[in-house]
């Protein structure tokens, strides 16, 4: 089991959320999907640890709709 940090860790949560949604505001779904893929790849490499990444994938898949 990895040690994915699930406690609040953003230096500025509201600004992050605003930036993320702003990024997608004028994009169509295909463009958004591509951008999201890049963001995931960039961040996944930054994290690096396979156990942490798998834990994030597990939580993302199991979380309620």
């Amino acid at each position: 089991m990895g040690n994915l940090n699930l406690k609040p860790n953003f230096s500025d949560p509201d600004s992050f959320y605003a930036a993320l949604t702003e990024l997608h505001r004028d994009l169509d779904p295909d463009q958004s999907e591509r951008i999201n893929a890049r963001i995931i790849l960039l961040l996944a490499n930054h994290i690096g640890d396979q156990d942490v990444l798998l834990e994030a994938m597990r939580i993302a898949t199991e979380s309620p709709e």
Partner: protein, 568 residues
């Protein structure tokens, strides 16, 4: 679906020969019969012959591979072939390349250099047409009186129980029967024998088609592997260009699942496709082509009573990553020494069943690796395709993304981690090499002219002991232990490393010795004075210790011979 016969290569024709077995009233018995004279079947015959085991090899054809098929032969395969005595012509004829280029569209996004580690006898791999590879193996096999190679002898019926296999063979002179203790089946991916016995090889089919074309051209192109994702000359699909011997170039065009295989394999369809890729002014001739759907599948067990499946008959992979022929030969090497030991009654019969344990592991690894490469090339849904494309888009600017680009990884042999034949480490060692690993080569010197460590291993158990710079007391202990080992275990060869430097001539009686002049064994094995590695006859490590004791080494050998296996 093959077509046009090769222009640069003339297939040898091996003549049918009538065997005295055909005139026998009763079925003649042989210890080992091998079905199929491809890379796997010939490897089995060669390795058994080196162990003094006679075999009959039956092939329904009278030549080597028609068309090239496998082209990438890995370092480990070449090391095994070197042990067989047929690597030299392969290296002479084969093409060695180091530089790979990856294109996204028409843009070069990065290059990689596969320059291998220095001071190994064999290169990381060579590109060589399968027909040459097989031809050199046949030439080698013909030198062994232990190998009875019968062309145009087709096996039509197989029956087996726990004691025996019985076969019926069809020839131009009619049918005959034989029996054997072990039937090794290397009759290819669609194995008729597997089907006849009602056995399955299961796995996944990749919903994609590939045109594989070998073309002859006098090209100024450097010897590189070039891989395009979505180039303008073949929009939406991938293409691979690889060089083989005789100015033959291998081109793989991904066609997509909707492509019509018959249509795509027509010259009028293929030629413009290739011309568009190479450029209008490039002259080439089509040598051979075929349209494939790739699949990865394996049998649940490679052993069915006295029938042992090897090569593609046992496990089949897609070609990206060169795990097919290479994995097959590595599997055969795993089986043959065990078979020889059992036939010579130097090991319990169960030893040979560990072929299934260790090679299921190897085959799963090969299936995993080639599936991952194929999945990268043929994404299974839209989101996978988006990820794949964005990996490629990021890869040009950001090195991290290049690690995810998968157009086939370098083929590496399986480490038999957790094998019941291993004696696990009790001492502290680095894990890059470990029990279950194939030996790592190193340049050495020796009085008998050997220049490579791997030339000193294989065929028998070998205990490699470092005796450098020990003090007198430890030297005395070492000498005692070596004497005991040589007395108690005739089947182990003792290989002393750096004995000369310490001037201990006494140690050398009956031992072989080598000098680690470049300190490569020390670096690659972390072998220090008093340390020992025990290698199996297939050059895999089966145990190692910081302090050498004859008892430990003999115990590990017995375990590797299957004496500690739990009764199944």
């Amino acid at each position: 679906m093959g077509m046009a016969s090769p222009k640069t290569y003339t297939n040898p024709v091996y003549s049918y020969q009538h065997s005295p077995d055909q005139d026998s009233v009763t079925a003649v018995h042989h210890p080992v019969i091998i079905v199929g004279a491809g890379p796997a079947g010939l490897s089995a015959a060669l390795d058994l012959a080196l162990q003094g085991i006679v075999s009959v090899v039956l092939d329904d054809n009278n030549t080597v591979s028609i068309g090239s098929r496998a082209i990438c032969f890995s370092k480990r395969t070449l090391e095994i072939c070197d042990r067989f005595g047929c690597a030299a012509p392969m290296l002479d004829k084969g093409i060695t390349w180091n530089l790979g280029k990856v294109f996204n569209g028409d843009r070069l996004i990065y290059e990689f250099n596969l320059l291998p580690e220095q001071h190994h006898k064999m290169p990381a791999f060579i590109n060589l047409q399968q027909y040459y590879f097989e031809e050199y193996m046949v030439e080698r096999a013909e030198q062994f009186s232990e190998i009875d190679l019968r062309w145009l002898h087709k096996v039509t019926q197989v029956q087996t129980d726990d004691n025996l296999a019985q076969i019926e063979v069809e020839t131009q002179d009619g049918k005959y029967r034989m029996t054997c203790d072990y039937l090794l089946v290397a009759d290819g991916a669609n194995s008729p024998i597997r089907a006849q016995l009602g056995l399955e090889s299961s796995g996944q089919v990749f919903e994609d088609r590939f045109l594989i074309a070998d073309v002859v051209m006098q090209s100024e192109l450097p010897t590189q592997r070039r891989f395009w994702f979505n180039p303008t000359f073949h929009a939406g699909q991938s293409t691979l260009l690889h060089r083989q011997a005789d100015n033959v170039w291998r081109i793989d065009f991904q066609l997509g699942w909707d492509a019509n295989p018959e249509e795509e394999n027509k010259p009028e369809k293929i030629l413009p496709r290739i011309q568009k890729m190479l450029g209008e002014d490039v002259e080439f001739e089509l040598e051979w082509s075929s349209v494939y759907t790739f699949r990865c599948r394996m049998m649940e067990s490679f052993i069915h009573h006295r029938v042992y499946f090897i090569g593609d008959a046992a496990h089949q992979v897609s070609p990206f990553g060169a795990r097919g022929a290479n994995g097959g030969i590595q599997g055969v090497e795993n089986l043959t020494w065990k078979l020889a030991k059992v036939l010579k009654k130097e090991a319990p019969e169960d030893l040979v069943k560990t072929y299934d344990v260790e090679r299921q592991q190897g085959a799963k690894e090969n299936v995993l690796n080639s599936s991952r490469a194929t999945d990268f090339m043929t994404p299974k849904n839209k989101t996978s395709k988006v990820f794949r494309n964005e990996v490629l888009n990021l890869a040009e600017a950001y090195p991290f993304a290049r690690s995810l680009v998968n157009s086939g990884r370098l083929s590496v042999p399986c480490v038999y981690d957790g094998s019941p034949l291993n004696t696990e480490d009790t001492d502290d060692f680095p894990t890059k090499i470990r029990p279950g690993s194939p030996a790592i080569d190193a340049a050495i010197t020796s009085a008998d002219g050997k220049q490579w460590l791997l030339e000193c291993l294989g065929g028998r158990f070998v205990a490699m002991i470092c005796v450098k710079e020990s003090n007198r007391l430890s030297m005395e202990r070492l000498r005692q232990q070596i004497t005991e080992l040589m007395r108690e275990a005739e089947e182990i060869d003792v290989l002393l490393v750096n004995a000369t430097a310490s001037g201990e001539d006494m140690l050398k009686e009956g031992c072989r010795e080598i000098s680690d002049t470049k300190n490569l064994i020390e670096q690659r094995y972390d072998l220090k004075p008093g340390n020992v590695y025990l290698f199996r006859p297939d050059q895999h490590v089966c145990g190692r210790w910081r302090s050498f004791s004859a008892g430990n080494v003999i115990g590990a050998m017995r375990r590797a011979l299957g004496y500690e296996l739990e009764v199944r």
